[in-house]
């Protein structure tokens, strides 16, 4: 079960798109998983033959749990223990059997495996020797999770009671960070509650209500099904609530706003769209996103993550775009490398992602890895949106509606289409001056749409 977001603890396998015996290639979509937020298509990271499916549709399993076995041609036995799980960002380390590295079939050496700067930084901080880490990413690349898994007690599963595990999942406490007071350091229910209280700061009552103890004669909740039994909408509400609470609690936000004259951008769009069939026309949103992506390259400090007490710049600009779903709730599909896409390509990506987000057909890799998020509520007619940052990102850009407003320019008043651009930024990572430069860059870029 891949992690499809920093806040994801478990997912429900909705549907298998492959059957035992099928040949699969890395990147194939093999299953649909429902998270608290949406249905997501899961990609396979290894090529081979589908062996056994380990999880039945409708089953909710924690992140990191194996979903199926992929058997590589000619080395079934070596691959038997290898679970198919997409690894762009698996949050939980998969225990690796010693035999796996010692597979008799020669494999490309992993010691020189590629690791990005973010991963190197993380390894530095955690004191992890990268040459000793097995890369589980595409082409043996070492991912964050690999490093974290190695740092975390050598990848050992935290010792915890079943009740503690259940509570940790309910209260969204990372068991690996809890000090156990049970025998041999086992984490017990009280330890998890304590950790949840500490995290919740001055509002411990919230954590308590999240896990009410059953009354004496109440029917016992079916173990492990508590989450699944919850209506999807309520689960999503709770997931959003938890993440946004964390963001508001942990991130010292500062907010900036500026009003941008959109007449040049809209005129350029109108002229361009006039020549094109409807399917190729572009919306202002594409220009706004492109301007944000370009500004994020020009003004560093807002594109990336706050991790372990420091800012880690993103590799490339991967723009999350908040999509409200019709039955309530949100999805934030990611346009990868938005800074290098022409606006027309960006528009195509945007249409595709939004449409599939609404149908619950996003892939796991399409909702993770965002480095900066854009929220646009302009279609609702509001002027400005002051958003909450999506952790561990450090900024969120908001756009309101493009509206006609009186506009003074060179001593003259005229009516212009304008949009209010806002920035919510993490004051730990940047200061207001950086944010101001960023919004000014967005403004400037939108005045020359032809250069975007």
């Amino acid at each position: 079960m891949p992690s499809l977001g920093a806040d994801m603890e478990a997912g429900t396998l909705q549907e298998w798109l492959v059957a035992p015996g099928d040949t699969v290639t890395r990147g194939d979509v093999i299953a649909v998983v429902e998270t608290d937020k949406s249905a997501v298509e899961v990609e396979c990271f290894e090529s081979g033959t589908v062996g056994r499916l380990l999880v039945a549709p409708g089953t909710r399993v924690p992140v990191g749990a194996p979903l199926a076995l992929i058997e590589a041609a000619g080395r079934e036995t070596a691959a038997r223990d290898r679970a198919a799980a997409p690894v762009e960002q698996p949050a939980a380390p998969r225990p690796r059997k010693a035999g796996q590295e010692a597979a008799p079939v020669p494999q490309p050496p992993v010691v020189h495996a590629e690791a990005g700067p973010l991963v190197r930084h993380l390894a530095d901080e955690r004191g992890v020797d990268l040459t000793a880490v097995h890369g589980s990413g595409p082409g043996g690349r070492i991912t964050r999770a690999d490093v974290e898994g190695t740092a975390h007690e050598g990848g050992r599963r935290p010792r915890a009671t079943p009740y503690a595990r259940r509570l940790a999942a309910e209260l969204r406490v990372d068991l690996g960070t809890v000090r156990g007071t049970g025998r041999d350091g086992a984490v017990r229910g009280t330890d998890v509650r304590k950790a949840a209280h500490l995290r919740a700061g001055p509002a411990p009552a919230a954590a308590e209500t999240a896990a009410p103890s059953a009354p004496a004669r109440a029917p016992l909740p079916v173990p492990g099904r508590a989450g699944a039994a919850e209506p999807a909408a309520a689960a999503m509400r709770r997931a959003i609530g938890d993440l946004m609470s964390r963001a508001n609690r942990e991130i010292p936000h500062y907010y900036l706003a500026t009003t941008i004259d959109m007449s040049a951008a809209l005129a350029w769009l109108r002229a361009r769209n006039r020549e094109l069939p409807v399917g190729e026309r572009m919306l202002p949103a594409a220009l706004l996103l492109k301007a944000v992506a370009t500004a994020a390259v020009e003004v560093p400090g807002l594109n990336g993550f706050w991790q372990d007490g420091g800012f880690v710049p993103g590799r490339g600009v991967h723009l999350g775009f908040v999509v409200s779903l019709r039955n309530g709730g949100l999805a934030a599909p990611v346009v990868r490398d938005a800074d290098s896409l022409a606006p027309a390509r960006l528009m195509t990506r945007l249409k595709d992602l939004v449409e599939r987000a609404r149908r619950g057909r996003l892939r796991g890799t399409e909702i993770t890895g965002g480095t900066l998020t854009v929220s646009s509520l302009g279609d609702q007619g509001v002027e400005a949106v002051y958003g909450v940052i999506y952790p561990p990102q450090v900024a969120l850009v908001g756009f309101g509606a493009v509206l006609e407003r009186p506009w003074a320019d060179h001593g003259m008043i005229g009516v212009r289409p304008v949009v209010t651009a806002t920035l919510s930024a993490d004051h730990r990572a940047s200061d207001g001056a950086v944010g101001a430069r960023f919004l000014n860059a967005v403004d400037r870029l939108l005045q020359k749409p032809e250069n975007l």
Partner: protein
């Protein structure tokens, strides 16, 4: 109505008296139940009251008189058969397991065996290894019979009537250490529910599950624990077959810890069954391994100090509860 002071033995006798009075088909038989008044004095005076036809002394042949009881039950009577101790009941195990428990099934439902078999169980009275064992778990293993373990005056008084009303065989275990227990007993009001376990003491930190003769020890253990700030819930299983899973799991779901106290030997015990069910049904509620306090795996010794050492005691139960609750963090 006012309560009356009585003993466990008198409560059993009152239940027999009531059954003999209420239904002509009911009769009592067993070794020394008539003139001697029962090996443990339960039926004292009943032969004088109801006559030797209905309170019948039998030869020392468990297989014969238990088999007779089964036959009488099939023929329409409502026999209550007393077996002196569970150790001796092994001589009748063939009748109980191969006949009483199976005939309804093997006759395609044509035969009912409404027999009630009472027997003494348990140690603690220096009766040594051939009179002291607790084999309730063996009987609770058998499909086709109901197994009851009255641990209180109320259950001693009230379990016989529903047992007689059951169209299938019922085995009732009377723990030898309980006969002299005395206390206040409220008059019977309506038929007693014999299908469910009972919470004898409420608590939040650990569930102590037990039955029969161990109940008083477990209640003492709960007192000890209360003095240390550990709030123990005590569940009396009452029905050993079928087990009342709902009550057990509801309690464990609240306390997240369980200790099963069983005078039987640990290996393959009723305690093992209860523990397994808890892990099957309430695994995700458990905050500590399920604990067990059972008898030492030796034939029950004669010497008092050795016998006491071999049996579950309040201090041992409290220790297991402390272990489950762990360090109070």
């Amino acid at each position: 109505m006012a309560t009356a002071t009585t003993t466990y033995r008198e409560a059993l006798r009152e239940a027999l008296r009531e059954a003999l009075s209420a239904d002509d088909r009911v009769f009592l038989m067993g070794e020394d139940v008539g003139k001697y008044g029962g090996s443990f004095g339960v039926s004292l005076g009943l032969v004088e009251e109801f006559g030797p036809e209905r309170v019948r002394d039998t030869p020392l042949s468990e297989s014969a008189f238990v088999g007779t009881g089964i036959g009488a039950a099939i023929a329409g009577m409502r026999p209550v058969v007393e077996v002196m101790t569970v150790n001796f009941s092994l001589l009748a195990l063939d009748q109980i397991l191969n006949n009483a428990a199976t005939l309804r099934h093997m006759s395609g439902g044509q035969l009912s065996v409404p027999v009630v078999i009472r027997m003494t169980t348990g140690a603690g009275r220096q009766l040594a290894a051939q009179h002291s064992h607790s084999l309730e778990g063996w009987y609770a293993h058998i499909p086709g019979i109901r197994v009851l373990a009255p641990a209180t005056l109320e259950d001693a008084r009230g379990m016989l009537a529903p047992a007689l009303a059951d169209p299938d065989p019922v085995v009732i275990f009377e723990h030898g250490s309980l006969y002299n227990v005395s206390g206040e007993l409220a008059p019977v009001e309506g038929p007693l529910d014999v299908a469910s376990a009972a919470v004898r003491r409420s608590g939040d930190d650990v569930t102590l599950l037990t039955y029969g003769g161990s109940l008083p020890k477990v209640l003492s253990a709960a007192d000890l624990l209360a003095g240390e700030g550990i709030s123990a819930e005590v569940v009396d299983l009452r029905s050993l077959r079928p087990l009342d899973d709902a009550t057990i799991m509801a309690s464990v779901a609240r306390t997240h810890r369980a200790v099963v106290v069983d005078e039987g030997w640990r290996t393959g015990s009723l305690a093992a069954e209860v523990s397994a069910r808890i892990t099957e049904q309430a695994f995700y509620e458990l905050d500590a391994p399920v604990g067990r306090v059972c008898s030492a795996e030796v034939p029950i010794p004669y010497a008092r100090h050795l016998e006491e050492a071999a049996l579950p005691q309040a201090e041992g139960v409290a220790a297991a509860a402390r272990e489950a609750v762990g360090h109070r963090g």
